[in-house]
Structures are given as C-alpha cells and as structure tokens.
C-alpha cells in the first residue's frame, strides 16, 4: 500500500465542528484515487493534512506502511498545485528545477544531474520548447504542465493534484487527464486528485473518496459514483449515460431538471 489515511480527523483552531471526520482511504500502487465533494467541504484541507502542511487531530497518514508526521517522512509524495499566477516571473526551467530541492543538501546548489533531470522531465511532458519562457508568459494549460513537471522532477511515486483541470479549456482538461493516466500506467506512479467533475473521476480513477458534511464514502469509482450518491452528496439530480465507440465504454453525467 503506497499511501493510506486512517481515521483522519481535523478541526480548524477556533471552530468546534471537525471539518474532516473519520476519513479513511487507501492508495494502491499504480492507481488513481479521486476526491470529490461540494465546495468548502474540506477537499483542500484533506490535501493539506495529507501532505503534512496541517497536522491530523486524530488518525494518521501512512506512507509505505510508515507513520508520517510531516512532509519529510513522505519523500516520494509530490504536490501539484492548481495553476495560479506567481509573485515572481521565474523561467520555466528554473521553476521545474525547484522540484529537485528535496534531493539537495542544506547548503548545496543544483548539480548537473539536477539540471539533466529537469531537462528530461520537460521533454517528457512535451514542454521543452517553453524552457526559457517566464511563467507570466504562459497560458493556463501550459502553466499547469509546468507544475506537473516540477512535481515529477523530484522523482516521486505519488502525485497529489489539487483540481488540475479547473481553469483549463475544454481540450486541455482532457489532455491533463490523459497525461495523468499515462503517468500511472507507463511510469508506475499513483495519483490522488481533487476534482469537481464526477465525469473525470469516472473516466480515469480506480477508487473515489466522496466527502460529505458529516460522512464520507470510499470505494471503487463506478460503485461510489452512482446516481443516488450524487444526489445525496451534491444535491444534484443526474443520470449516468453510457456511450460506446471504437470498443470503448464512456460514461457521462447528465443533469436533470427536477
């Protein structure tokens, strides 16, 4: 088991109700877990607790079976934030190079190997031609790829992504999804993805965690993402439509006017 959360609970200081209550899920090797839930339900909080930015009030995170109290205990877990404007306009190459810092000593500067890995990662993601541009000159989709590259540069076995498809146009949304599935299938990574879109979960993830106000549900994606659960957790009336083409099954949600 690559990554596990056992009975995690978190309450923001100064509030009484825990925002996350008895959360448990497991991330296996070479698999994708998607996390869904309404706005403000605690998806981002969960990511923060998972990556050690916030500390669990109760429960724990286990990485390869070992208990983790901070991000230092999870060296193989890399975080991909949502594409956002940056304070300083760094060059793309310098940005991706930052991903290597986990492997650098206290007072060391990036080595040739670090630079080589950076360039390789840029190639792999097909953005090598953007290397000399500054981040302020990129589109949303390109910037998101840069963040993915930065995370990949550290050589992780788990990627944690916070709503990667948001802010992207139609085409790029699916490009990112395809990329993630490829990274898992071809490079053996595991992924945890926060997403707003049940469609996307259905498309690429193996297991899903549904977060609700006082309850949560974890299981195989097609089982968890059902019409009843969408009604219960999202307060939305929708039907799953199946479609078949070229021998592949596609499922999509259609929202019904109640």
């Amino acid at each position: 088991m690559r990554l596990e959360i056992e009975h995690g609970q978190y309450t923001y200081p100064g509030t009484r109700q825990p925002v996350l209550n008895d959360i448990s899920f497991q991330l296996e090797d070479r698999s994708i877990v998607t996390i869904l839930g309404k706005n403000g339900i605690g998806k981002t909080t969960l990511i923060k607790c998972l990556s050690g930015v916030l500390k669990w009030e109760k429960g724990r995170t286990l990485y390869h079976g070992k208990v983790c109290s901070s991000s230092k205990d999870m060296p193989g877990v890399a975080f991909v934030p949502q594409a956002h404007p940056l304070a300083y306009a760094y060059k793309v190459r310098d940005m991706v190079l930052m991903g290597r810092v986990r492997h650098m000593g206290l007072l060391s500067i990036p080595s040739r190997k670090d630079r080589e890995i950076t360039d390789e990662t840029l190639e792999e993601l097909g953005i090598a031609d953007l290397a000399e541009r500054t981040t302020s000159q990129l589109s949303g989709g390109q910037l998101q790829l840069v963040f993915v590259a930065r995370a990949l540069a550290s050589g992780p076995d788990v990627l944690v992504m916070d709503e990667p498809e948001s802010h992207l146009d139609f085409k790029n949304q699916h490009a990112i999804l395809r990329l993630v599935r490829e990274l898992v299938d071809k490079k053996g990574l595991s992924c945890i993805i926060n997403t707003h879109y049940p469609d996307h979960a259905l498309r690429i993830s193996d297991k899903t965690l549904l977060l609700g106000k006082e309850k949560s549900m974890f299981g195989i994606t097609p089982e968890v993402i059902s019409e009843e659960n969408i009604r219960e957790y999202f307060d939305v009336e929708a039907r799953i439509a199946q479609y078949r083409e070229n021998g592949k099954e596609y499922a999509a949600f259609v929202v019904i006017d109640a």
Partner: protein, 331 residues
C-alpha cells in the same frame, strides 16, 4: 540551453571586470594627488617617498578592500531580506536590523569591548530587532506588508532612541568621540585591522546566502508550496535571516550605518538578471561591491573634507528608489 549558460557567463565576467576596473581606478585616485606612475611604483615597492607607499598600500588599499566587502555584504543581505519576507520594500534598514545592530555596537563601545565582541553584540541585537519586528507585525497570525514595514519603523525608532540615550550618558572623553564618529557611517579611518575583523563573518555569511539562492526561490512560492516541495520554510527562513543579519552586523560594526544599499542594489540586480535568486544574489554581490567602491571614491575625493558615504548613498538611493517604486506600482 547552452546559449543561456554562456550569456550568463559573459555577464558575470563583464561585471567582474567592472569591479576590478573600479577598484584599480580607486587605487589611483585620492586627494593626496599621486601621479599614476608613482602609484605603480608604490605597489611594486619602489616608492620614492615613504608617504607615497603608505598612502597607496596602507590607506587606500585596505579601504578599497573594505568597500568591496561591505558593498557586497550589504547588497546581498538586503536581497536576502527582501525575499525572505516576500516583499520588495523591506531591507535591513526598514526592518530595524541596522539600528538594532548599531545599538549593539554602541553598547560594545560603551563597554569598551574588543572588536570581535562588538560584532557578536551587533549580531545579537540585530537578530533581536528582527524578531521583535516580526512579532510586532503579527496581527492575528497574519503578517502583511504594511504591518511589517510599520513594525520595522517602530522598532527602528526604539533602537535609535536607545542609541541617543547612550550618546547622552556616554563619557565625553573616552566614549562619545568614538560613538559620534562611528555613527556618521564612513570608511574614513579604515585600516587593515578593520578588514581582518570583518572578512570572516562577511564572507561566511555571504557564502551561506549564495548557496541558499535556490531555496529562497522556493520560499517565494509561499510556505505551503515550499513545504510540499520538501523544505522547511520556518528553519530555512531563520537560517537566511541569521546569515543576512551576521553580514549586516559585521558591516555596521566597522563602518556605522550606510543606508540604501540593501534596498536599491537588489532591485537593480533584479532588473538586470531576473528574480531567480541563484543569479540574483551573485549579481547583488557584484553590483554592491562596484557601487560602494565608486561611492566611497567620491566620498574621499570630491571635497577636501570627508563626506560620510551614507550621505552619498542616500542622495542617489532615495530618488532612485522613488523612481523604482513608481515604475513597479505602475506595472
């Protein structure tokens, strides 16, 4: 990629050449009015008069070395401060590090301690002042730009008041002249002794800061992202602050407060090489050394009297900073 590297390399060599040129130029200039040939003779040990050799080797040379060190030190620690606090308006002066370190040094003069103890006192007080400034700026766990600057101004005022108090109670025969002279901010009485005293702390602090350039980049992304990338933002910040304060304190101990270096030079460096700290910090070092050497050259040659070099850096720095500030706000 290769092209990028060579361009950076070329700029580096040009800057270095500029510094060497400035330093050499400085050696040839001075109110004593030595002909260039005599300067060369003095350097080669063939001076015609004792005074020539003394002026070139014992008065000008240590002074130039010190201006290079102090200029580089103040600039790079200013750049480090700006980025640790993610705010281009701060500098060791604004955050009260300068006045805190100055107070420590004045305290040392009052207690008549040795030079090394002076630096330790300056460093301790400098760190204390940063700590107090930061604590004072924390309003409900959040630290904003405005609160940092305001808190820094308050702490500066506090330490400056303490310095004035020290001046008031200082003994006019043994302590006050030293304090008064020293508060002027000048390289006037520089000897090799001063260089020896500060060369280790300044170089040490600068070395640490230069290797931290990469980590400072990451800090600028925000604490959470930095943490998720695997560095400890809290301790990294503290390490940077201590190194930068060490450099600033050492500089202040020998020359008094010379302002504006830590604010203006990093900005110019950023305009020239971009925000990547792996390049910004070395650029600040080179630019700071160059600028300070030229400023001090003016300070000791423009008039028969010695102009305190802090006056010159302020005269040039303040309007320049106004220009920068408008430019940035307009962008």
């Amino acid at each position: 990629m290769f092209a990028g590297k060579t361009l950076q390399g070329k700029t580096f060599w040009i800057a270095l050449a500029g510094i060497v040129a400035a330093a050499v130029l400085s050696l040839f200039c001075g109110r004593y009015g030595l002909a260039p040939l005599n300067v060369v003779k003095a350097v080669l040990g063939l001076a015609e008069r004792n005074m020539d050799a003394n002026i070139v080797l014992s008065v000008r040379l240590p002074r130039i070395i010190l201006t290079l060190l102090v200029g580089a030190g103040l600039a790079v620690s200013g750049a480090a401060f700006q980025d640790v606090f993610q705010n281009p308006l701060v500098s060791p002066d604004v955050l009260s590090v300068s006045s805190g370190a100055a107070f420590g040094a004045v305290l040392g003069i009052m207690l008549d301690t040795s030079e090394s103890v002076l630096i330790v006192l300056a460093l301790a007080m400098g760190c204390l002042s940063v700590f107090l400034t930061y604590m004072g700026a924390k309003i409900q766990r959040k630290v904003s730009v405005l609160s940092l600057v305001l808190s820094g101004i308050i702490m500066s005022a506090l330490f400056n008041a303490l310095i004035s108090l020290m001046k008031y109670v200082a003994d006019t025969e043994t302590q006050l002249p030293a304090i008064t002279y020293w508060l002027l901010g000048s390289f006037a009485a520089t000897t090799y002794r001063h260089v020896l005293v500060v060369v280790v702390p300044i170089l040490l602090g600068m070395a640490v800061l230069l290797t931290m350039g990469h980590k400072i980049n990451i800090l600028s992304l925000g604490d959470e992202e930095a943490q998720s990338l695997g560095i400890d933002p809290y301790w990294t910040r503290i390490g940077i602050i201590i190194s930068a304060t060490l450099v600033t304190a050492a500089c202040i101990t020998v020359t008094g407060i010379i302002g504006w270096m830590g604010l203006v030079i990093p900005h110019v460096a950023r305009l020239l090489v971009g925000p990547n700290h792996s390049r910004l910090l070395p650029a600040a070092v080179l630019l700071g050394a160059l600028f300070m050497t030229l400023m001090d050259l003016l300070a000791r040659t423009l008039l028969p009297t010695e102009i305190p070099v802090g006056v010159l850096t302020a005269l040039i720095g303040a309007p320049f900073f106004m220009f920068l500030f408008h430019r940035q706000a307009g962008m």
